[in-house]
Symmetry: C2
Subunit: 213 residues, 2 copies
């Protein structure tokens, strides 16, 4: 990089520069995993010195936290009180899978980091433990809503079924990343949920318990 | 290590030494992933120089191949023509999960390496692509056997159901590694399979199509 190019870059507003660093860190972690990605490579791809990157994020672990805090607004955990209920939430999981087929980088990032987080002293282990607990709680709640509305059978074990739904989504992502042409994640996720709850899902956009649901 | 200890070690038969290197490489890959594990660490844990390890395995990638070629004789892919058929094979998957709860190191190794294999230029990517193809083919075959015996409904989509069963097992392993006390992998795997095929599994040891199956 020439001095002139460096000067041009430093004129970018800090918020924009920060966002660019995060975008490149995300790409690099998705490509290499966290442990193998180096601050040197991330800095070079951004076009900054390592000191320049450390001005925004204090360490490689700080970058990881920044990347994990980025949440696509379509993500399930970010829906808050707006989230759909009962079977409509399960339909939402299928639609999330459909969107995931168009954002391979994010899927790769989470697949690689989640598995890597079980290795020794990984800085994201607590993050993923919490993330699964939160996600499982949402799925359990939706299954219980559906059960109380009579939308799923009374004998559905909501805790185990929630685990299996989340596990299915994770495992399909791995198969899809290895062999995208052979795996229809969306179809497989819907088939799994329908079989697990013994009931078809409502069409997209229909609220739970509505006519024909 | 003292010269004397070194001398003692070199008296061990090559086959035994080779097996020890593989065991330690397996542990190290499970703890750190492949990319982060170093030949230096593996060699130190074995008590050999790097040159000493390279006498048995020509590179770190060679060690990885050696580790992946190690197969527990209880593994599904190793059953060959002895494998159970139809629903008995699906029961075997549940029993494999039960055994996996007692071999956390192997589960960790495969979970970490499979996800890591989708990163850039990973030496085990082809291995895992092939492994999933082989595993899926076995599950599809068992589902088709069961269908032809009338043990599962005619409308079961064997290809997608096989993917979902394998995905469920992978995803549950990840949840279990993160939080072993909260996850009953065996129970969850059986629940998933039973719901997916709409039929209870035969007890352990019963062949497919037998009375009461």
């Amino acid at each position: 990089m020439t001095r002139e190019a460096g000067a041009t870059r430093t004129r970018r507003p800090p918020a924009e520069r920060r966002a660019e660093i995060l975008r490149i860190a995300m790409e690099t972690f998705a490509e290499r995993g966290y442990q193998s990605a180096s601050l040197a490579e991330i800095s070079a791809r951004v076009g900054l010195t390592q000191a320049g990157v450390l001005h925004y994020f204090s360490s490689k672990a700080g970058l990881l936290t920044g990347v994990l805090d980025l949440r696509d607004s379509s993500d399930i955990e970010e829906l808050g009180s707006e989230r759909p209920h009962g079977l409509a939430f399960l339909r939402h999981l299928v639609e999330t899978t459909r969107r995931n087929t168009e954002r391979e980088g994010i899927v790769r990032l989470y697949t690689v980091l989640a598995a890597e987080s079980v290795t020794a002293e990984h800085p994201a282990q607590e993050y993923f433990r919490d993330r699964y607990q939160g996600l499982l709680a949402l799925v359990v709640e939706a299954l219980e809503e559906a059960r109380s509305l009579g939308e799923v059978a009374d004998d559905v074990d909501t805790a185990t079924t929630a685990r299996v739904i989340v596990a299915t989504m994770d495992g399909l992502q791995l198969q899809w990343l290895l062999d995208p042409g052979s795996v229809d994640m969306t179809r497989a996720t819907e088939l799994a949920i329908v079989r697990l709850i013994g009931r078809d899902l409502p069409p997209v956009g229909q609220t739970s318990g509505g006519p024909g649901a």
